[in-house]
């Protein structure tokens, strides 16, 4: 069987191609640059070629870094983007997550699942605002909260610009906040773990070693924030306890945690804990000046948890975000519980021996 390999070119397709080539040739001759040929973004440096533009950008950010201006939104100089060696230097790191710039895109949830290969745990519709994730769990390490509240957001003006009281609407605000494991200073899960599977890393985060965990489930009830959970069957790696790893694997290689890396508005900021705490209090002041009266930091340092590595800026009360107002690490109950148990033990021994002594 013979087959012809000759390419057949139909006039219908060849004609426009020829026309476009001619048009381009003519335009090229005419030295005009209409949009359809070459799109150029006009910026102050747009006369420069691409590699010069990048150099210029680096120079600008470096200059601003020298003035100590390296803050949020500094491109490659942002702590969310640049490489680091916090693990090698034993620097305490943290997440500072704020709702005021979060746009609720859930990129952090997706990036977390992608990088850590967290299995999907079912597409259930919860229907609470735009939130269908529900809560943090064994297969949800980042969770974007969608909070609908009937109170004012900053200097928000609602309704018909206050033309008349009857027409103006009630204040309403929609808040997004990306929730995550808090990596407590005094971690309930870490203290409770009987296998030594949960450890503290060089950067101060709390890490579950999956190959050591035997799934006893004691960390689940010991976490004051309800973060860690045991992964149910039939998901992959079922039976073990899972939670946010603070992307320890990425951090060891000098990379930023996946959620912070992708956050488009830098609502999640990754960096040195002391820097973040300073930045957070600055941010709260700034917000209060711009009319956000109820802005506050959620970082329970005065309770037995003694501060958290992933802390939050919140508007309003922590209860609305499902955050406990005064979280306590369960180890503070050890003393009274063991005292009771030991006294009961002694009493039981005495009672049994006494019963045999007096009634025997």
């Amino acid at each position: 069987m013979s087959r012809s390999w000759k390419v057949r070119r139909s006039p219908a397709t060849s004609f426009p191609v020829v026309c476009r080539a001619v048009l381009l040739f003519l335009i090229g001759l005419s030295n005009r640059r209409p949009n359809l040929v070459c799109r150029r973004i006009y910026t102050p440096n747009s006369h420069l070629p691409a590699h010069r533009m990048a150099e210029d950008f680096r120079a600008v950010t470096a200059r601003r870094a020298k003035c100590g201006e390296t803050m949020i939104g500094e491109g490659t100089q942002s702590t969310n983007q640049r490489r680091h060696n916090y693990v090698q230097e034993n620097v305490e790191v943290g997440f500072f997550t704020g709702p005021t710039v979060c746009i609720g895109c859930k990129a952090c949830e997706v990036a977390c699942k992608e990088w850590n290969e967290v299995p999907d745990d079912g597409f259930t519709w919860i229907g609470n605002s735009y939130d269908n994730t529900g809560r943090l769990g064994a297969s949800t390490w980042r969770h974007v909260l969608f909070l609908e509240q009937d109170c004012q957001k900053g200097n928000q003006i609602t309704g018909l610009m206050g033309l008349s009281d009857a027409q103006s609407e009630d204040p309403f605000r929609w808040i997004f906040l990306s929730d995550v494991c808090k990596h407590c200073e005094e971690a309930g899960c870490l203290e409770a773990c009987p296998t030594g599977s949960i450890v503290r890393t060089e950067v101060g985060s709390v890490f579950v070693q999956n190959d050591v965990c035997n799934g006893c489930g004691y960390c689940v009830v010991s976490c004051p924030f309800g973060v860690i959970d045991r992964r149910p069957q039939p998901l992959p790696d079922a039976g073990g306890a899972f939670k946010c790893t603070f992307c320890y694997d990425r951090q060891k290689s000098g990379l930023v945690p996946a959620c912070a890396k992708v956050c488009p508005t830098e609502s999640i900021v990754f960096g040195r804990l002391d820097d973040l705490r300073a930045r957070a209090s600055q941010r709260v002041e700034q917000l209060k000046q711009s009319g956000y009266e109820d802005a506050q930091l959620y970082d329970p340092q005065e309770t037995s948890v003694r501060g958290i590595h992933a802390f939050f800026l919140i508007l309003g009360e922590p209860e609305a975000y499902g955050l406990p107002p005064k979280p306590q690490v369960p180890t503070i109950y050890l003393k009274s519980a063991w005292t009771s148990a030991l006294l009961t033990s002694i009493a039981a021994l005495i009672a049994v021996l006494g019963a045999f002594l007096f009634f025997g």
Partner: protein, 323 residues
């Protein structure tokens, strides 16, 4: 039903009950009152433990306190009673690790429990207690049985006797801890209904263990005066603990203990092992009293675990306990 009618129905339901059991209908600003916290989502995680753990609590308590009775029996020359009690302790010591292992998410890694010792973790301390109890009870029973059934002559008999005594003392020591540490295990958690009663729980689990060991030994035919006295004591303590639990209420924080399924389980179990067992003993119906106490002690553990699950799912309980 039209959408408007459905909305009206939801509004009526909301005004009546303060809450609507549906999805996507509790948006603020809408007609429906909001659930507390973040859309009523739990703040702490409820326990993932299933039926094995309450049964383990029951068997562990019974076995541990049996070892104590065996020790007392040996001291006061009630050898038959001591042997039966040691048999109960050994069966319990064999079943406990099995139950604990079945409950693990990854049972094949159960030996990791003995990888470290962490005194701050009741689960770790408990795993070591179970291990030490088993290590004392099983050779203890073998030595006791060999010493009482066979005669090897002079030195060997003497050695077996001392060996058995030492192991039974060890069993009693670990046994009494095995019966009470389970209360610490529940008390040192973030579940309000448990940690608010962290002093009561070890006492309750200890006395329930003692009472059930006594009851089972009585059912097995050891109707002796000391056991009867211990039966009275355990039932009296259970009655007192019931009164304590009814007085020591913490409002929304531990309401799971007083209402719904766990409330009725706990109340029913305390009635069975408290007043009912006491009355049956006073009317000299010892076997019935023993059965009532055993049932009560068994149901009580399920009640406490169920209360933890209900309480853990309830955000208001957590907020109330921290308010």
């Amino acid at each position: 039903m039209t959408t408007e009618q459905r909305l009206e129905q939801l509004r009526e339901q909301a005004w009546d009950k303060g809450i609507v059991a549906g999805r996507g209908v509790d948006v603020t600003g809408g007609p429906i009152p909001r659930r507390s916290g973040y859309y009523g989502q739990p703040v702490v995680k409820p326990p993932v433990w299933t039926w094995e753990i309450p049964i383990y609590f029951f068997i562990g308590g019974l076995a541990g306190m049996s070892a104590v009775i065996a020790f007392a029996g040996l001291v006061f020359h009630e050898i038959d009673l001591a042997r039966t009690a040691m048999w109960l302790a050994t069966i319990g010591a064999g079943l406990s690790p099995v139950l604990l292992t079945i409950d693990l998410g990854r049972p094949r890694l159960f030996l990791n429990m003995l990888r470290v010792f962490k005194y701050k973790s009741p689960m770790s301390v408990g795993a070591w207690i179970v291990f030490a109890f088993g290590a004392c009870v099983i050779p203890g029973l073998i030595a006791l049985e060999l010493g009482t059934r066979y005669s090897f002559g002079g030195g060997t008999d003497q050695f077996l006797k001392i060996f058995a005594h030492l192991l039974v003392i060890g069993s009693a020591f670990w046994g009494v801890l095995l019966a009470t540490y389970t209360g610490v295990l529940l008390g040192v958690t973030a579940i309000p209904a448990w940690f608010l009663h962290r002093v009561l729980l070890p006492i309750h689990f200890g006395s329930a263990g003692l009472g059930s060991a006594t009851a089972l030994l009585e059912l097995l035919g050891h109707r002796v005066a000391p056991l009867s006295a211990l039966g009275f004591l355990a039932a009296a303590i259970e009655t007192a603990l019931w009164i304590w639990l009814e007085i020591d209420k913490h409002g929304a924080a531990d309401r799971a203990l007083h209402r719904g399924l766990p409330g009725w389980l706990i109340r029913g179990s305390e009635f069975l092992s408290g007043p009912l067992a006491l009355i049956l003993r006073l009317t000299n119906l010892v076997p019935l009293a023993a059965i009532a106490f055993l049932l009560g002690a068994f149901i009580s553990r399920f009640g406490w675990i169920e209360a933890g699950k209900v309480c853990g799912r309830d955000p208001e309980a957590v907020f109330a306990s921290q308010g």
